[in-house]
Symmetry: C2
Subunit: 333 residues, 2 copies
C-alpha cells in the first residue's frame, strides 16, 4: 500500500475517504459546511490512517501560526508564573500554543527572541514589563502581531498594555504605613526599573508626612528568600531601630521574618515587615505577611482576552488596562 511507512497526509485521507483534499481541509477548519455523511467517512479514514494534520503546512497556507510568544525574564523564582500559567491554559483552550522565551533579568535576550517570534509569525507577543529599546518597539509595531506589555503601565504602549501602576503602589504603601503610625521605615529595593518606580513614589509620598527619611538598601533581582541574611545585616547597620521593613517580594519578607526571629526580635511587635506580590506564602507564614496583592492570573486572562478580541477582528478601544492592586493587611505590619 502506498501509504505504508510514511506519515499520512491530507491527500491520503482524502483518497481513502473518497473525497477531495479540499473537503478534508474543510472538515478540520470549517466543519459546519461539510455534510454529516461525508464527515463520517473522513473521520473514519483519519482514524484508520492515524492522520495528524500538519499545522506547519496549514499555517503557511492560511498564514495563521496559532502561536503566541510569551517572553519573561526567568521562571525559576518568578512572580510572573501565575500569569504564565493562566495564559498557557487559556491559550491552549483556543488551540494556540505558547512559545516560552527567557529574556534574562536584564532583558538581554529579548531582541533575539522577538525576532524568533516574528520569524514564526506569532499572532501575539506577550512581554513582561515594558520595552525600553526604541528599535525593538518599532520592529514590533510594524508587524501584524498583537503585542501586549504586561505588569507595567506605559504611557504610550506599543500596542496594548495590561498591568498596574508601580507608582501608585509606592504611594499607597507610604500612606498605608504612615496611617498605621510607622515612623522609621527601611526600604529594600530590587535593582530593577519597576522596583525603583515604587521606591521613588514611596519616598515622594513619605516626604509629605514630614517624618524621617527612610533608610534604603539594594538587592539583586529577582529578590528572594536567600537575600534576607545580607539585607538584615545591612538594615541593622544603617538603622538599628527601624520600625518597618518594606520588601520587594514576599519571599524576602519571609526571609526577614525568619532573620528577625533568629535575632530574637518579634514580628510585628519589635519590627514590622511588608511584602509584595501576595504569594500564597504571605497568607500562610507565621506571622501572616502584609503584602500587596497583584492578581497575576488576571493579567494573564486579560492578555488572552485582548488576543481573542483581536482575533475576532474587534478594535481594542482601551489600550491600557489597569488591573489595579490591593494592600492586604495581615499580621506582619
Amino acid at each position: 500500500m502506498a501509504t505504508k511507512n510514511r506519515v499520512p497526509k491530507l491527500e491520503d485521507v482524502a483518497e481513502r475517504a473518497g473525497v477531495s483534499p479540499a473537503t478534508v481541509s474543510r472538515f478540520y477548519n470549517n466543519p459546519s459546511v461539510v455534510a454529516p455523511s461525508t464527515a463520517e467517512k473522513i473521520r473514519k479514514a483519519v482514524a484508520e490512517l492515524g492522520y495528524v494534520p500538519d499545522l506547519i503546512a496549514g499555517g503557511l497556507a492560511s498564514r495563521r501560526s496559532r502561536l503566541v510568544a510569551v517572553l519573561v525574564p526567568e521562571i525559576a523564582h518568578s512572580i510572573f508564573n501565575d500569569t504564565i500559567e493562566e495564559m498557557v491554559s487559556e491559550l491552549s483552550r483556543d488551540g494556540l500554543i505558547v512559545m516560552l522565551g527567557l529574556t534574562g533579568m536584564d532583558d538581554s535576550g529579548m531582541p533575539k527572541l522577538i525576532e524568533a517570534a516574528l520569524a514564526r509569525r506569532a499572532e501575539g507577543v506577550i512581554l513582561s514589563g515594558i520595552v525600553a529599546n526604541e528599535t525593538l518597539r518599532q520592529q514590533l509595531q510594524g508587524r501584524s502581531a498583537t503585542v501586549i506589555e504586561t505588569w507595567g503601565l506605559p504611557e504610550k504602549p506599543i500596542d496594548v498594555a495590561v498591568g498596574f501602576s508601580h507608582e501608585a503602589v509606592g504611594t499607597d504603601l507610604a500612606r498605608f504605613l504612615a496611617a498605621r503610625g510607622y515612623r522609621r521605615p527601611h526600604l529594600v529595593v530590587g535593582n530593577g526599573v519597576r522596583a525603583r518606580m515604587r521606591r521613588d513614589a514611596f519616598l515622594r509620598e513619605w516626604a509629605q508626612t514630614g517624618r524621617r527619611t527612610p533608610t534604603k538598601s539594594d538587592v539583586e533581582i529577582p529578590t528572594h528568600f536567600g537575600h534576607a541574611r545580607m539585607v538584615w545585616r545591612q538594615v541593622m547597620e544603617l538603622d538599628p531601630k527601624p520600625d518597618v521593613i518594606v520588601c520587594g517580594s514576599d519571599l524576602l519578607a519571609q526571609g526577614l521574618i525568619v532573620e528577625a526571629y533568629a535575632a530574637g526580635k518579634r514580628v510585628p511587635q519589635d519590627i514590622a515587615v511588608v511584602g509584595f506580590g501576595n504569594l500564597s506564602i504571605a497568607g500562610e507564614m507565621r506571622p501572616t505577611i502584609t503584602s500587596v496583592d497583584l492578581d497575576g492570573a488576571r493579567i494573564g486572562r486579560e492578555a488572552v482576552a485582548v488576543l481573542r478580541r483581536r482575533a475576532a477582528g474587534e478594535k481594542i478601544a482601551n489600550r491600557v488596562i489597569d488591573i489595579g492592586f490591593r494592600i492586604i493587611a495581615r499580621e506582619s505590619a
Copy 2:
C-alpha cells in the same frame, strides 16, 4: 515600489541584492557556501528591507520545525522550573523554540498537548514524569520526534529517559535517618506516583532496622508551604513525639519548621525535619534544611544534549540516563 506595504519575502531580498532566491536561502542556512561579496550584498538588502525569514515556510520546505515541546504539570510552584529554565535557554541557543504545555497535576491535558506538538512536527517532546497511557506511548513511538521522559526512570522508556530513581531516594533516606539514630519518623507523602515510590522504598528499608513503623500522612501535590499547618496538626495526632518528619518538598519542610517554632519546639533538637528537592531556600532557612539534592538544571542539560546528539544523527546508546541524587545533611536533621 512593489515591496512597499507588505512584509518583504525572500524573493524581494534576492531581487534587491541581485541574486537568486536560492542564494539568499543559502545565506541563511548554509552561509559557508556563499561568497563573501555576495553575502555582503544580501546583508545590505536584508537590512534595507527589514526582512525576517519566514520560518513557517522554511519549516515546511525543509521539514524542520525547530520546535521542541516541553510538557509539565504546572509551573506556578513547580520543582521542574529549574529544568525548564535550563532547557529553554539551551535550546534557544540552538535556534530552537520551546512550546510550553501544561498538562495539569493529573496529566489530563497530555493527550491534546501531545497531539498539538506532533501536529507542529516538534523535533522533540520532553515530558516530566513517565507516560502511563499505553495508547499515547504508541502514538509517540511512531513519530520521528525524540521523546524524552524526565524525573523518573522507567524500565522501558518510550525513547530516552533522564532522571533518577525514586526508590533509591527512599531507600537511602531510610538508611541515612537510621544511621543518625532516629527512631520515630513521620512520613508526609504527596499523593502522586513518584512520592509513593519513595515512600514504599523508605518503608521497606526502614522495616529492616526493626524499628517502629513510621506514621504517615498524605497531602495534595504539589506539596507546599501552606500545607504545613494541616500536616503539623495531623502529625501531632498520629504521634505526638516523632523525632523526625520526612517531607515531600523543601517548601513543606520550611513550613513545618515555622510551625514547630510556633508550637515552641526547636528544630532539630526537639524535632528534626528533612526536605526534598534542595531548593535554594533549603540552604538559606534557619535552621538550614537537610534535603535531597536533585540537579534539575542538569536534567534539562542532559535532555538537550540528547536532542543535540539525535539532531547530529548519532545513535543514543544509553537510553536511560541516571543523574543520581545526593542527600545533603544540614542543620535540620
